[in-house]
């Protein structure tokens, strides 16, 4: 469903990706943990096709249409309402905005408010709706829990669990081991552009993964 082979990319003298290879099969969720500057966002952008790697290749079955992206920034237009934003993005994917998506994310009562008038948490919920509206088979998530309140974070976790249970793939990057581990079927630790650990989670909890992460990154 998603394959990376020998990815290598530098920004000037900084090696952002260094021989990264992995595959993610349908139903799997890969959580990639790493400190700031480890190359996590660059890796996601390469997987999404937003950055052409200098070496290696990344393939997503179904191409760009199959990808849903939730990043640091919501990719929304602040002067437009929630509904107008979602309609615009839906039009680019040739779909209409699924009615239940707004209710699932608790956005119905905010649908006609401009995005600029929403709180950070609500904006992130709209960003999640934007990423899901075309029913993607591969989700690429960059610190998706940032700014979410507890209720919204739980709603997102449920959505991601449903996504995985439906046989879809997810790649999640974060520096927060607590929030990422529960969703993961596979875990990778990233440091200075390299995977220093990549394995199935195999029942490990956040505490154990966190300890292994600290040892691997130290």
């Amino acid at each position: 469903m998603l394959r990376a082979e020998g990815l290598r990319h530098s920004f000037g003298a900084v090696r952002a990706l260094d021989e990264i290879s992995f595959t993610v099969q349908p139903g799997q969720t890969l959580a990639i943990f790493g400190p700031n500057g480890a190359g996590k966002t660059t890796l996601l952008k390469v997987l999404a096709g937003l950055i052409q790697p200098q070496r290696g290749r990344a393939e997503v079955a179904g191409g760009r249409r199959a990808i849903g992206w939730i990043g640091h920034q919501p990719q929304l237009y602040a002067p437009l309402t929630v509904r107008e934003n979602l309609r615009f993005w839906a039009s680019l994917y040739g779909v209409s905005v699924p009615g239940e998506l707004l209710s699932r994310l608790g956005l119905e009562e905010h649908a006609d408010r401009p995005v600029r008038a929403l709180s950070r948490g609500l904006v992130q919920r709209v960003a999640i709706a934007r990423a899901l509206l075309h029913d993607p088979t591969v989700l690429l998530l960059d610190e998706p829990f940032t700014g979410l309140d507890r209720v919204a974070a739980e709603a997102l976790s449920r959505l991601l669990a449903q996504h995985g249970a439906a046989g879809r793939a997810t790649v999640l990057v974060t520096h927060n081991v607590e929030e990422g581990t529960g969703l993961a079927t596979h875990v990778a630790f990233m440091r200075a552009g390299r995977f220093v650990h990549f394995a199935p989670r195999a029942g490990r909890g956040p505490q154990q993964v966190g300890e292994e992460y600290r040892n691997a990154i130290a």
Binding site: L50, R64, Q73, E84, G94
Partner: protein
């Protein structure tokens, strides 16, 4: 990508840009005020006995449009950087040329609105007769505008991620604007002087060729300019 899809996606992008501008009205208001101020300053900063209005007006009109358009073009991709919406556009399963076409259409509407404000003001301040030549003048303005907005939209995409985007855009764009600008000034001068239309047909043809060449080139080059 099939042409109907390309056009549909282009229209989505253009309509979104126009809606964003309609909601915020920041860019159009500031550029409209800029146009009014420039024309007012030129009106009071000239010696009416030295050069006749008909000789002076075309240059003033096109200088005003040039700088107003640059102000407008600067914002074209700036709004895509807020909240990283540009990444969303690049990720969408659409031909990247449709992003360019959509931006071009929105910029043309934007600049045309400014021109709609500028032409009557020019007629008012400089006492030049515009109404008898309105049709040919509109065609001339349209042809010249398409050319430099096409190039400007491409350069706006190229420079938006740079540190000095607002400086780089005019520096890159102005050399490319010189040919259509000079043809437009000469043709406008002839029109306002009441010369026969046959005298400006050559310039109109050159403007049309410039438009075709640069719109085609920009469509070709745009996908490469937005890669990170």
């Amino acid at each position: 990508m099939p042409l109907p899809d390309l056009l549909r996606h282009s229209w989505s992008v253009a309509a979104k840009d126009l809606l964003v501008e309609f909601r915020s009205r920041t860019a159009i208001l500031s550029v409209a005020v800029f146009v009014v101020l420039v024309l007012v300053v030129f009106n009071f900063g000239r010696d009416p006995t030295a050069v006749s209005n008909v000789d002076l007006a075309p240059s003033i009109l096109w200088v005003t449009f040039t700088f107003a358009a640059i102000l407008a073009l600067n914002r074209a991709f700036q709004l895509e950087l807020e909240n990283q919406a540009l990444d969303g556009l690049l990720l969408a399963p659409i031909d990247r040329s449709s992003i360019y076409l959509g931006k071009l259409v929105a910029n043309l509407v934007f600049v045309a609105t400014i021109e709609l404000i500028g032409v009557p003001l020019l007629a008012l301040f400089f006492n030049v007769r515009v109404l008898p030549y309105l049709g040919p003048l509109a065609a001339l303005i349209a042809l010249a505008t398409v050319g430099f907005v096409a190039v400007g939209t491409l350069f706006s995409a190229m420079t938006v991620r740079t540190r000095f985007a607002e400086l780089l855009l005019p520096v890159l764009l102005l050399p490319f604007m010189i040919p259509p600008l000079s043809w437009a000034v000469l043709a406008t001068g002839r029109l306002l002087a009441g010369r026969p239309l046959s005298e400006i047909v050559g310039w109109l043809n050159m403007l049309a060729v410039y438009d075709i060449v640069f719109v085609a080139l920009a469509l070709l080059l745009f996908p490469a300019t937005v890669n990170e």
